[in-house]
Subunit: 292 residues, 2 copies
């Protein structure tokens, strides 16, 4: 890390809203593109098929994995006024409340959650399938997590998550995750980032009462790639048959095992800026090369 | 158009939710990428600087252009539960209402609108600037518009909008729009799409009472690129000093003129599939070539 801490909200090309979101331009925008190209290379290790998903998931789908029981505090929803024209006219005449928020007095029922994690889309997509072979997939999503506080690039309400996901037998997924870990190590080295792998748990609501949290403590299935004082810039996750069972995805006659490698794109930007400074000329060249 | 209408929800690689959103994979995903590469080429005509924006705009920013007065029926908002832990626990225990929607009884104030049009971000970004020269910018955004009905790729709640925007003097923007129109004609020809330009108006709420709508009727500032029976796959828009004035962007000492060329990416997919059929082998090759 550079000797003097970098004020991330003063990095050229970053415009930060304290409510938890950022705009990127210039070298920072280009760096995000170069990182995505490296993640593309990593995904090509398994010829992972790219997919583009909508920005939401149906609440009924997330209910299958008790998402709202485990993470109600993180969830964001997409809503709109109900269809009544008089209500529209009333809102049009006085759209803002005294605190500058939208005066949403009459909402249509909320059926959609703003994506909390990119890979959820894939389990929904493949629900009800019997997989004749292991499937490798990749997707990028804007993800949403409400937090107690925000920091530019490091902890945002809305951020960019890139994932590569495997669905298969337990052995297929374990091989995928082992190889992914090696590839991620190479990528961190190419970015000049000193990192370490640490056991981690997901940020459950009231964790001590949640069996899923207790299971993660007993059987560590999440490992985070930590930079500096512990900024998790990526993770490797073994879900066992949690999603295979919830979404009836089968492999060899039993619920499929799934696993994923996930990258927080803005956090990679933060780590590179913290490590190499705010000037783009000092950043590692991530274009074109291949790494271990 | 093909003699037999194509059922868009049966196109390989499209998964459609009747609530207005789609997932893309396979050839359709690749085609969206090829189109974006062509839009990149078009943006390069003016060396337009790319930017990536957050998924929302502050309601206070959109209020400056009376967005909610003009389009309350289209707006979507990002919301979350309020921070009270008891409320979280209550929601966690019973997250769904009887109709399968989320039981959002206690929401934090909604300060963010899900992006209604990609270019709005740019006027917010440049607010308060005096431009020493014309600025050309480009961005892609997932945009949200509530509609009375939806159709796969053609009319979605959430869709992908690519824009190239100019800010400058009236003359600079008029030259930009004239050149953009030629370039778009070339792009439509490269995609093998028979199109025509038609005068259009924005879909105002209660249009006959809205001075902005009446002004668009008197002084047509929006022209849509129409395919087939009238599917607007792009548009060219002259905003005069509407945004320059609202966001205090100046050029040569007076409010800047702005203009944009916008593409609905999913609608281009729809037009190509309707024109050339659902099989990717019959689609035009959009990679690598240059066009008029």
């Amino acid at each position: 890390m550079t000797a003097t801490p970098v004020a991330l909200d003063a990095v050229p090309g970053l415009r930060w809203s304290p409510r938890g979101y950022a705009a990127l331009s210039g070298p920072l925008y280009e760096l995000a593109g170069s990182l995505q190209a490296r993640f593309d290379e990593l995904a090509a290790t398994w010829a992972a098929a790219p997919m583009a998903f909508p920005p939401f998931l149906a609440v009924t789908e997330l209910q299958r994995i008790d998402y709202f029981g485990s993470f109600p505090h993180l969830a964001s929803f997409a809503v709109h006024l109900d269809g009544d024209e008089d209500e529209m006219a009333r809102f049009a005449a006085a759209p803002l409340a005294a605190d500058g928020s939208a005066a949403l007095t009459s909402l249509a029922p909320a059926h959609e959650v703003l994506t909390p994690a990119a890979c959820y889309h894939l389990y929904v997509h493949f629900q009800g399938s019997a997989l004749a072979e292991a499937r490798y997939l990749t997707t990028t999503a804007t993800c949403y997590r409400r937090e107690a506080y925000y920091r530019p690039l490091e902890r945002q309400w809305a951020f960019t998550m890139r994932e590569v996901v495997a669905m298969g037998t337990g052995e297929e997924v374990r091989l995928f995750l082992a190889r992914a870990r090696e590839e991620v190590d190479g990528l961190a080295a190419a970015a000049g980032l000193p990192v370490r792998w640490v056991r981690a748990t997901d940020p459950f609501f009231r964790p001590s009462t949640n069996p899923q949290y207790l299971m993660q403590r007993i059987d560590p299935t999440k490992h985070e790639l930590a930079y500096g004082d512990g900024l998790a810039i990526g993770s490797i996750n073994l879900h066992h048959d949690h999603f295979g069972r919830a979404f009836s995805i089968e492999r060899e006659g039993i619920p499929a095992t799934t696993g994923c490698v996930a990258f927080g794109v803005e956090r990679w930007l933060a780590a590179i800026v913290r490590e190499h400074g705010p000037e783009a000329e000092n950043w590692p060249d991530l274009n074109g090369g291949t790494d271990g």
